[in-house]
């Protein structure tokens, strides 16, 4: 017996590039709040993302405080490519492709260190930390006069710095970092320019069988999940119950960047009082007024950065923490999370220590907030893999807050909604994402 169903599963892998792009445009409807399931795990969608987003956008690679001295370096990944971020002998920052120009070997396998030179483990080509090729074993013998070392330096990746955050892009034609970030800079100032900030140690890394997009989507708009996903924390009395996570603003600043700003803070000022002069000096009056009232701030810088300021009571002391993470795609249905913790350089050692501890307890790999989010990302991604979702075009509902009006009197830039329970930012994020991956 055979069935006579006429239903078919759309075969994205058999479509031409333009058919696939048309299919995406027909099925992803951000303005209607309709986001189809298949985009969260389909390999063909992932291919487009890699090419159109991760090879094009500005991506975070390091914080300047990670490489304070000449010779310091860290290795990072961007667009599936390892890069070495160095503080070169010339005093400049360099982002260098971690690929020997001779035969493609990975030059450096360390997470960090201090080196004048990088010697290739394959044939011994030797590069300065500025990328210049300075040595080739037996050069005269094996190349005679035919090798021009000046043309064989490590490929330098375009980079730029804002608020001590080093960004790089694999696209030489990308708009400037300044233009890419746009108005989100006003809010990045609150996180990284409010005082001199420094990274503590190195990033923690862990791996989740969930798509990177769910991380960014959760970051940019989802304060609503706090009630349930993080309900255990309220049950313990660490945060207030009910709608505490609603109060504040949801703000979209363009190019896929946006934030949720939690305020006012019922517990008062969440930052070291001893640094108030520094805050006032570095921030505008409007920015400082926001900082004064801030309970938390969750910023998404597209495509895949999450910046978090949050405050809590720990061991009877009011403490805030500042962190930055990337949701690094490692496949259509998987990501690696790397998370940096930052503290005010001029805070007391006690304050720094407690802030780090608060981070580890709440948002590190073992964090009691963190843990429950990864369950959501994993299970949504796994669900979306079934061909049934494609056959039926199962869509998820992102319509929350469509009835709400923007507020016009907020001091910061962007499209602003009162209260954080809204999916407006996700709709904007997916519009930006769709425009990027369907660009011809």
């Amino acid at each position: 017996m055979t069935t006579t169903s006429t239903k078919q599963v759309p075969r994205l892998d058999e479509m031409t590039r333009s058919e696939l792009i048309q299919y995406l445009k027909d099925t992803v409807k951000p303005e209607e709040g309709l986001i189809p399931s298949y985009i969260f795990s389909h390999p063909k969608v992932y291919e487009l993302e890699m090419e159109k987003i991760f090879l094009r956008d500005w991506l975070f690679v390091a914080h300047k405080s990670e490489i304070p001295n000449k010779g310091d370096f860290v290795t990072r990944e961007m667009g599936g490519q390892s890069v070495i971020v160095t503080h070169g002998a010339d005093g400049e920052i360099h982002v260098l492709l971690n690929v020997c120009t001779h035969r493609g070997m990975k030059l450096c396998r360390m997470d960090n260190g201090n080196q004048k030179n990088f010697t290739c483990p394959y044939h011994g080509f030797n590069f300065k930390n500025t990328g210049d090729l300075i040595g080739i074993p037996f050069q005269k013998v094996v190349y005679g006069d035919t090798m021009d070392k000046s043309k064989m330096g490590l490929k330098e990746i375009r980079h730029a710095v804002y608020a001590d955050l080093i960004f790089a892009t694999l696209d030489a034609d990308a708009v400037s970092l300044d233009e890419f970030l746009g108005d989100i800079k006003w809010y990045l100032d609150l996180a990284f320019n409010r005082a001199e900030m420094e990274v503590v140690g190195l990033p923690q890394k862990w791996n989740v069988d969930g798509t990177w997009k769910l991380g960014s989507d959760n970051t940019i708009s989802d304060s609503y999940h706090t009630l349930v996903s993080h309900g255990s924390i309220a049950k313990l009395g660490l945060v207030p119950t009910g709608d505490y996570s609603k109060y504040g603003y949801q703000i979209y600043t363009g190019n896929g960047h946006g934030l949720n700003l939690g305020m006012p803070n019922p517990d008062g000022f969440a930052f070291p009082e001893s640094l108030i002069d520094e805050y006032k000096e570095r921030l505008s009056k409007d920015q400082y007024d926001i900082l004064k009232q801030m309970k938390n701030m969750i910023v998404c810088v597209s495509p895949n950065i999450m910046i978090l300021i949050s405050s809590m009571d720990l061991k009877g002391q009011k403490i805030s923490q500042t962190s930055l993470r990337i949701w690094k795609p490692t496949g259509p249905d998987s990501m690696e999370i790397s998370s940096w913790v930052l503290v005010e350089k001029n805070a007391t050692e006690e304050w720094k220590r407690l802030s780090e501890q608060a981070f580890t307890l709440t948002f590190g790999a073992s964090g009691i907030f963190e843990q429950d989010d990864t369950e959501n990302f994993t299970d949504i991604t796994q669900n979306s893999k079934s061909p049934y979702h494609l056959q039926e075009n199962i869509v998820f509902n992102y319509t929350m807050g469509m009835h709400q009006d923007q507020v016009e009197d907020f001091v910061g830039p962007g499209i602003v909604y009162k209260d954080k329970f809204n999916e407006a930012n996700s709709r904007a994020f997916f519009r930006n994402w769709l425009d990027q991956i369907t660009a011809e």
């Binding site: 990033p203 791996n207 996903s229 580890t360 790999a365 073992s366 963190e370 429950d372």
Partner: protein, 167 residues
């Protein structure tokens, strides 16, 4: 020698008992084994040049707990909203290579290997967390209590979705 063999046996049995309590999700029972002064830390494993060992950083800690915060973690697991462990992971802690490094009347420093198998939800591939423990146990009112645990994982990027479990 005889005395050392008995001590070795006692400490091994303590570690096995601890593993059993954790594998059986008896967190209150586990908490009873901890000293009030416990320091529970997990540094970050990093890729370093051989000559610049140690290949870990204590500036970044994946666990940084004391008795207050460990109690908090346990209380959280007991709420019906600790989704990361609902249903609980199936864990199997294999403790081996138990070596007593230092001992006095009341205190031992003991190193061991931990191979922690974690099966989560319907996953068919399990997470393995392998690493080294450095523990300090102290006799308090006749019982060995854990005063300090230092756990160093063998991965620089953890192959498990979170650390909602104890190591």
């Amino acid at each position: 020698m005889h005395k050392n063999i008995i001590l070795q046996y006692e400490i091994e049995q303590w570690l096995y008992k601890e593993s059993e309590l954790l594998d059986e999700l008896n967190f209150d029972g586990w908490y009873e084994l901890l000293s009030e002064e416990i320091s529970y830390t997990m540094p970050l494993r990093i890729n370093q040049m051989e000559e610049s060992k140690p290949d870990y950083s204590e500036a970044t800690l994946l666990f940084d707990d004391d008795s207050t915060t460990l109690k908090l973690r346990i209380d959280r697991l007991k709420t019906d909203m600790a989704w990361a462990e609902l249903p609980p992971s199936r864990t199997r802690r294999n403790v081996s290579n138990v070596k007593i490094k230092e001992m006095s009347e009341n205190e031992v420093t003991v190193h061991s290997n931990l191979l922690l198998y974690r099966s989560r939800s319907t996953d068919t591939t399990a997470d393995l967390i392998s690493g080294q423990r450095k523990d300090v146990l102290r006799k308090e009112n006749g019982d060995w209590k854990l005063v300090s645990r230092w756990f160093l994982a063998d991965q620089t990027s953890l192959g498990t979705r979170n650390l909602a479990i104890f190591v």
